[in-house]
């Protein structure tokens, strides 16, 4: 059987690698590793241009997988990003020799999007300097490979903070601007990507371009939320704000639907500064709300607390005890919830970060808890993003899928305020095309801990969640890499082919992050 050569950027009906066993149906897993053609000449040219590339195993090994731990690929070599000119040299050479380049920030993708299946792994962590903090105008200019937490450390010295960033300290600014960045204050500030005022980009052909809404807006539109297809973000100007500790409040629900309705009501009326839902399965549904100021909290207590249908912890505990007393066959679940509550709650309110009712550095607190209680050798976090109206159905259906596959899991729901003037950015992104005002996202995260799960099993779970998205219409946060088979099905041929055409124009050799979207 002759296996046709497939050019990059073309989706064959059954995308398997040239080395696959013919006739055996496969799910989309790892892309085939780039064969290494022209590698030696490419390296020589890089060295002549002063671009250091490291090919030894110890240099490549840290990048062999991402946070998901299910996609594995070894680059041929690693380049640590140092400046835009260096990256420009790299991209020009990569175009000439058709060498794939995978840009990686914090490596917090889960579907292999930041894994290099051969070629160059460009480690953006080398560009992590904060260039200028403008306290008066509330802006910061930073190199884009910086961890959000590194940025927070720097801004704090000036009494400042970023607006919004993923609840994970080791996400990078550039990586986040490329995919979205959702936080519990996204209902107020929008996704992290929406706070970028301007960026410096190295295009796939090596041009260094400054872009914003007013300067090179077409490129700005493509690169923000662009999944790294149209350029590498090397610097960014972001909005900032004065740092404030926050005051957090938890309400407990028995019903996902009721909790979501209350969440959406709060967001619509801007009743709090931070909001989100975190669950243990569908038994402990927690609506968290938080405030930057005492005044906002007092207003919430006065106007909203009486209206919301959640309860304080004491009432919730009593109701839970009664629930499980009547259902003794679910005692293991009850014990799990109890043990988890006893270990997790102190971690979410550690004494060293609390001053009375105020919490300092919530991202440190939550990020640590995420890695400690949800982190492991494998992480799968399929998600659904919908408009307001469809969200409850999406979450309930996703919850049913979680129950089918796993005993223990968490749902994490947040709202995202949309910027009407950024509609063009949102095309082929995590923002659903039918959303206006707010979009809502839910992550479905099983607690794998260090259990052993087959990749096929995990892929089946992810596929079932994503199938809900296809059915309802919406989008996903993590639709690249191993999940890219859903892109054309979700967004349609017209949108995908339009972006594919743009990609081909901007990246003629199709070498930048080639296995992520197309």
């Amino acid at each position: 059987m002759e296996i046709p050569i497939i050019e990059p950027g073309v989706l064959p009906p059954d995308p398997v690698g040239e080395d696959s066993l013919s006739g055996i149906p496969r799910q989309q897993t790892n892309p085939v590793r780039w064969t290494g053609r022209n590698w030696s000449e490419f390296v020589v040219e890089l060295q002549q241009n002063g671009v250091e590339i490291r090919a030894e195993r110890a240099a490549c090994a840290p990048f062999v997988t991402d946070a998901g731990g299910t996609a594995f690929g070894m680059p041929h070599g690693v380049v640590i990003a140092r400046n835009a000119a260096q990256i420009s040299s790299l991209m020009q050479a990569a175009q000439r020799y058709r060498v794939p380049v995978t840009a990686r920030g914090g490596g917090l993708t889960t579907e292999g999007e930041s894994v290099a299946f051969g070629g160059v792994l460009l480690d953006m962590g080398g560009m992590s300097r904060v260039l200028d903090v403008d306290v008066e105008n509330l802006m910061v200019r930073t190199e884009a490979g910086i961890f959000w937490h590194g940025l927070a450390e720097h801004l704090r010295r000036h009494g400042m903070d970023y607006l919004s960033a993923p609840l994970n300290m080791t996400a990078t600014v550039g990586g986040t601007l490329g995919v979205g960045g959702i936080d519990i204050n996204s209902a107020r500030f929008g996704c992290s990507a929406d706070q970028a005022m301007s960026i410096q980009v190295v295009t796939p052909t090596g041009d260094i371009v400054e872009c914003s809404d007013g300067e090179n807006p077409e490129l700005f539109q493509r690169v923000i939320l662009g999944y790294g297809q149209f350029g590498i973000i090397t610097e960014a100007t972001l909005k900032i704000r004065p740092y404030t500790p926050l005051r957090m409040h938890y309400l407990y629900y028995r019903s996902l639907a009721v909790a979501i309705e209350d969440l959406q009501d709060l967001n619509r009326h801007e009743a709090c500064d931070y909001s989100g839902i975190l669950t243990m399965m569908d038994r402990a549904v927690t609506l968290l709300v938080a405030f930057d100021t005492t005044e906002k909290q007092q207003e919430f207590d006065r106007l909203w607390l009486p209206r919301l249908r959640g309860h304080g912890e004491a009432v919730f505990m009593l109701r839970s005890m009664l629930y499980y007393a009547l259902r003794p066959w679910r005692v293991r679940e009850a014990l799990f919830l109890f043990r988890r509550r006893m270990s997790l709650f102190p971690a979410l309110q550690p004494a060293e970060y609390m001053h009375g009712e105020e919490m300092d550095d919530r991202t440190v607190v939550f990020s640590r808890a995420v890695w400690k209680y949800w982190g492991g050798r494998q992480m799968v976090i399929p998600d659904l993003a919908t408009n307001e109206e469809k969200f409850i159905e999406a979450v309930e259906r996703g919850n049913a899928v979680c129950k089918k596959y796993f005993s223990h899991y968490t749902l994490y729901c947040v709202g995202i305020r949309l910027r009407p003037e950024h509609q063009d950015h949102y095309e082929l992104s995590c923002i659903p095309s039918d959303a206006s005002g707010f979009a809502y996202g839910c992550e479905f995260e099983p607690m794998l801990e260090d259990g052993v799960y087959s990749r096929d099993g995990l892929q089946s779970f992810k596929n079932e969640i994503f199938d809900i998205g296809l059915d309802l219409g919406g989008s996903y946060y993590r639709f690249g890499g191993m999940m890219k088979g859903y892109i054309r099905r979700m967004f349609g041929d017209a949108v995908v082919d339009k972006h594919l055409a743009m990609k081909r124009r901007s990246d003629p050799a199709f070498i930048l992050n080639r296995d992520v979207i197309f």
Partner: protein
Amino acid sequence: MRAKDYDFSACNGCSLCLLVCPSWRRRRDLRLTAHGFAKALQHDEAPGWDDLLSCGLCGACDPVCPRPVKPTDMILDLRRRHMRERDHNDIRGQVAAARENIARADIGGNADSVLLPDMLLAGRTRLLNQVKELLGPSVEVAGDAGEDIVLAVEAGLDVPEGRLGEFLRPLESAKTVIAGDGLLFRALRGWMPHKSIRSLGEALSIIAGVRAQVRENDLYLVESRAYHADFPHLRRYYRQLQRIRDCVMNIDLQGAAIPTGAVSMRPLEVKRQVDWILHGRHVERVVAESLADADAVARYSDVPVTYLGQLTETHAYD
């Protein structure tokens, strides 16, 4: 000092260690960090000696790692493996020379506490006497402060059992051992788990007269190796100290103590660390728990600096 069951295979690449790693801050090269070392090991690659020396053993990675990796133990064990496989005669020579210089004075049987000064403090007699006076009459200064042992531990050389026994035996009778060197503090906690081991920084700063001299506009420079070696306790302790004295500290948002990196087999870009510690801080003075840190601040910044043990003096640090 034995490895405490570290587990490099547990590393999932979360990169939390990078956020506190001075080597990462300097070089932005993942290879030269605990994360990089663990991943190299996962792929049957042993990090090279030069790479291992990029770690200053500040220990900040230990409390932030959410997995059972125990990065500092891992790095120390990797150094030990290197030492067993290679000559490194220059380092062996340094340790041997340090061993020759050890005084053999016995500690009196009535010593409540024993002070093991670090190398710099041991070499400044006037300061050492001042520190001893501050700590009180029930504290004796050990003639054998284990300088060779500290060097050996840092370099990854095995400490002969006989030598270790010789060093530890006189300490058995003391109620408390006060360690001036942060790496020795860490090692002693492993060798003498039932003994009260205190860092010199804590022992001095707990003295009311010393503590009262820490001012609101001071930057109090916590010695990082000891701090991270006893993180849960010392985090609480210094948090309280900070509250009481309302000073600034070199503690970052994760609660890690930012080191100067001056105490290291291969100090690299200490100026950059000092600059970062001071960046954005409007302080009138630095109070340093460690002489090496005090020296570094004095060398690389214009901010007046005082060693903690001299805080009750009226003249400036020299």
